[in-house]
């Protein structure tokens, strides 16, 4: 007989039943306490996990700042981190279309099968918002739940930048617990990290662009200085050389004819130098944005006519036909008349210069459907390859060809002209084809033009 059976001897069935009931009760009570403790511990762990979520989210999101991804791809990566950490069903980043417009567009989303392409308009935009089972479906809950197509959403909006972040769940409970006011830190934390990293990425991108532009500008400046030295030295050498010859005692006496020729060459080189220096000053002023424009209404018929008449001499020398199509006497343009004449002179002069004998240069003026004033200078000259057009726009970058060698210029005419047109708010575009000629098109905004066949504006 073992100890257990010995212990049972003499024990009444009633006592055994009571003892069993006692142990059962104790077992269940202790089990219940264990269950509750286990659940409390799990709950504490889950809450601690959620508390760590914000720190983890911020840490992971900030790491993106050191990666090579661009600002466009940042949204998806941030949302991945938000979804991973918040365990939500869907998430989206939005941008307000215009500051204060209350119209939002989804820029990035996760979990949305079909992303809403049309903007969402909201009657009021809260900085922070969430929905629960008790939330009434009225603005802004109506619009916000509609964006993610989910009943439970958490939203944060940054009024300064117009960015917004939202996450959403299908069910209120289970793994994802109901959203609450305490989640403001989480959602606003996620949004602010996005905005910070985005700003940094955008700044990096702008910095890279600026550095690239600066490098290009540096190269251009070096080339400009090299060319400038050359352009200045050539006429100066001629002036000094000829002056030395004329003043030298060792030189046999010059004939009056030769002296006159040398003096004419010195004067020509001097004028070229003056033109060059004027052009450089113009170009420098334009490049630095220091060009002073004094707009006044000019009658295009007169302005173009005067420029044509002034260039007829050069055109005649080169046997190039120069003409203008009839211009509506009512066409007026609000421009600096001196600068406008400079524009026309440059373009017409260039066109004549690059047109072989027997060619034609035509100036046309018309009004676009939008009221803009369009002036074109068309020649039947040597033309340019598409890749040479950009070169022609650069300072001192004359294209090598037989005609340019015959008629040297400063190489600043086109860049100055373009700068002058743009200083008036207009644009300059070139169409050209080798052997077919070149058309330079100027377009001035409608605000600067007066309609044809109507009264010329006063002033």
């Amino acid at each position: 007989m073992n100890a257990d059976s010995r212990g049972a001897v003499g024990v009444s069935p009633g006592r055994l039943e009571r003892e069993l009931a006692y142990y059962q009760r104790e077992c269940n009570d202790l089990g219940a306490r264990l269950l509750r403790l286990q659940e409390e511990q799990s709950q504490a762990f889950r809450e601690a996990r959620r508390s760590r979520t914000l720190a983890k989210l911020i840490r992971e999101a900030h790491r993106l700042a050191d990666t090579v991804i661009g600002p466009e791809d940042l949204g998806d990566r941030i949302l991945e981190i938000v979804v991973d950490n918040s365990m939500c069903d869907r998430a989206a980043l939005l941008i307000e279309e215009a500051p204060g417009s209350r119209v939002f567009r989804v820029t990035h989303a996760i979990g949305l099968r079909e992303r809403a392409t049309s903007p969402v308009s909201m009657p009021s935009v809260p900085d922070f918002f969430f929905t629960t089972a008790q939330t009434r479906i009225e603005p802004p809950a109506y619009e916000l739940t509609g964006i993610l197509q989910l009943p439970y959403v958490l939203w944060a909006y940054d009024r300064t930048t117009g960015h917004a972040l939202m996450i959403g769940n299908r069910s209120e409970a289970n793994v994802s617990r109901a959203f609450e006011a305490g989640d403001q830190e989480l959602i606003e934390g996620g949004l602010s990290v996005y905005i910070d990293v985005l700003a940094r990425k955008q700044a990096e991108q702008e910095l890279r662009r600026a550095m690239h532009a600066a490098e290009q500008a540096d190269e251009a400046k070096a080339a400009f200085l090299a060319t400038l030295s050359h352009e200045l030295r050539t006429p100066l050498n001629a002036i000094i050389g000829l002056a030395d010859i004329m003043s030298s005692k060792r030189t046999p006496a010059l004939t009056a004819e030769r002296s006159g020729a040398y003096a004419a060459e010195i004067a020509g080189s001097g004028r070229h130098l003056l033109r060059l220096i004027n052009d450089i000053l113009d170009y420098s002023g334009i490049a630095r944005g220091h060009l002073a424009i004094q707009p006044e209404w000019v009658r295009l018929e007169h302005a173009v006519g005067a420029a044509i008449r002034a260039a007829q001499g050069l055109a005649g020398e080169r046997n190039v036909a120069l003409s203008t199509s009839p211009i509506d006497p009512g066409f007026g343009l609000l421009v600096d008349s001196v600068r406008f004449r400079q524009i026309l002179d440059n373009l017409i002069g260039n066109a004549i210069k690059f047109t072989p004998q027997g060619g034609r240069v035509t100036v046309d003026v018309e009004v676009g459907a939008d009221g803009s004033i369009r002036i074109s200078v068309r020649d039947t000259g040597i033309g340019m390859r598409p890749e040479d057009i950009a070169i022609a726009m650069e300072p001192f970058r004359q294209l090598e060809n037989a005609l340019t060698r015959k008629a040297a210029g400063t190489g600043l005419g086109l860049p100055i002209t373009k700068g002058l047109v743009e200083a008036h708010g207009g644009t300059l575009a070139i169409e050209s084809e080798p052997g077919q000629g070149t058309t330079v098109r100027l377009e001035f905004p409608a605000a600067l033009g007066s309609p044809g066949r109507q009264k010329l504006p006063k002033g």
Binding site: L35, R36, Q41, F45, V175, A178
Partner: protein, 398 residues
């Protein structure tokens, strides 16, 4: 020869490209793919075809999360895959798409087919979509599916191992890849050749916290009474709380019902229990709905508490057993089918138990896991659906 790939991205194409990169030079004939539920399954198929060619068979399905050798995630954006190259261990794929018409009948038809396809004792991996309907939530009961399958097999023995897929941890939806496309209400069986065997451990983590109680009223998966009292009252009394309507689903995070196999009065052994998660509490009827409907009138159950410390111990012990068993063998692949409830986001465990599995398993074994709704494993000689378990299977040459 198999290779494992994994990736994570909002873009299906990017995630699959990451998988492709990890797989290397392997030219797969079959892909076993598990994919986070935030991805569109059709987009994943498209990306897989672009990366691996049009002829590759694609099986697997959605996953509440994916577990790989050096990481895991349940954001819904993860993708993991096993690439099977042409070779001696290429499984044959058998599909049944009739779960919606009845799980038992579909199981029976599949069992009949497996009887013809699978050699006796061969390993069969089976996957199906757990969620039959989203609103109201209804699961495809694995117990009916497996019971039907066993009937169809008619005594033909196979090593059935598997899991139910989910799109996320909230049981929102589920789908499978059926070889060619995305499918609902379908079950996929991978029948491995007889030259392959499995070593499977079931990792637990629940222990009883009540005396035995008898189910005195039950209809399908809905338990109305325990020991003649409303089942919900019994549970609430144990928890010391009254569950509101909105938190009724929370029960699945707290307690399960367990049926002890064998001698009911034998000392506690985690391997003796079949656990059933509680899908929801029904206030109006005072009942609780279980994940499965294989408990019956008169079944003696105990209320079980999840025990995170026990869960982690169970993992350590199971991994130790399986590593010992693999010593000197030729392991081909390890698959971990892990109940979504065990992830720390749900269980509240301080350590991800799946991390312990990946870290503890011999590093030479290609490894992939996913978070599932239900696990199916050989249990006391008969494959049964299990809840709140982790199922680690290592396939190796016999």
């Amino acid at each position: 020869m198999v290779a494992i790939g994994h990736g994570r991205s909002v873009s299906a194409a990017t995630a699959i490209e990451q998988c492709r990169g990890a797989v290397g030079d392997v030219v797969p004939r079959l892909l076993l793919v598990f994919c986070g539920g935030k991805h569109d399954g059709a987009e994943i198929i498209k990306a897989l075809r672009a990366a691996f060619g049009d002829d590759v068979q694609i099986v697997g399905g959605s996953a509440a999360g994916v577990i790989w050798r050096d990481g895991l995630g349940y954001s819904g954006l993860e993708v993991g895959l096993v690439a099977f190259e042409e070779g001696d261990f290429m499984p044959e794929v058998v599909v049944n798409r009739d779960l919606l018409q009845g799980e038992q009948a579909a199981g029976f038809a599949l069992g009949r087919e497996l009887r013809e396809t699978a050699v006796e004792d061969s390993v069969v991996l089976m996957f199906y979509d757990s969620v039959a309907n989203q609103s109201p939530l209804r699961l495809h009961p694995a117990s009916d599916l497996v019971a039907g399958l066993q009937s169809g097999l008619a005594g033909h023995r196979i090593r059935l191992i598997g899991g139910g897929t989910l799109t996320d941890m909230n049981l929102s939806d589920a789908w499978v890849f059926d070889g060619r496309s995305v499918a609902k209400h379908a079950v996929i069986a991978l029948v491995f050749p007889p030259g392959l065997k499995d070593e499977t451990v079931i990792l637990h983590g629940c222990r009883p916290v009540s005396t035995f109680m008898e189910i005195t009223r039950i209809e399908g998966a809905e338990v109305f009474e325990l020991d003649g009292r409303p089942a919900l009252s019994v549970i609430e009394q144990m928890l010391g709380v009254t569950l509101g309507n909105t938190s009724s689903q929370d029960l699945s995070l707290i307690a399960t019902l367990g049926e002890k196999q064998g001698d009911p009065y034998a000392a506690y052994d985690e391997n003796s229990y079949v656990n059933r998660l509680i899908l929801r509490a029904n206030r109006s009827t005072g009942s609780i709905t279980l994940f499965e409907r294989d408990f019956h009138l008169g079944t003696r159950v105990q209320i079980m508490s999840r025990d995170n410390a026990l869960m982690l111990d169970s993992v350590r012990n199971g991994i130790s057993r399986i590593n010992q068993a693999q010593s000197g063998g030729q392991p081909l692949l390890a698959i971990y089918i892990d109940c979504a409830g065990r992830a720390s986001a749900r269980s509240g465990a301080a350590v991800e138990e799946a991390r312990l599995v990946a870290d503890g398993l011999s590093s030479s074994i290609p490894f992939l896991g996913f978070y599932s709704g239900v696990e199916i494993a050989p249990f006391e000689g008969y494959s049964r659906p299990l809840d709140w378990t982790g199922l680690l299977t290592v396939l190796s040459a016999r």
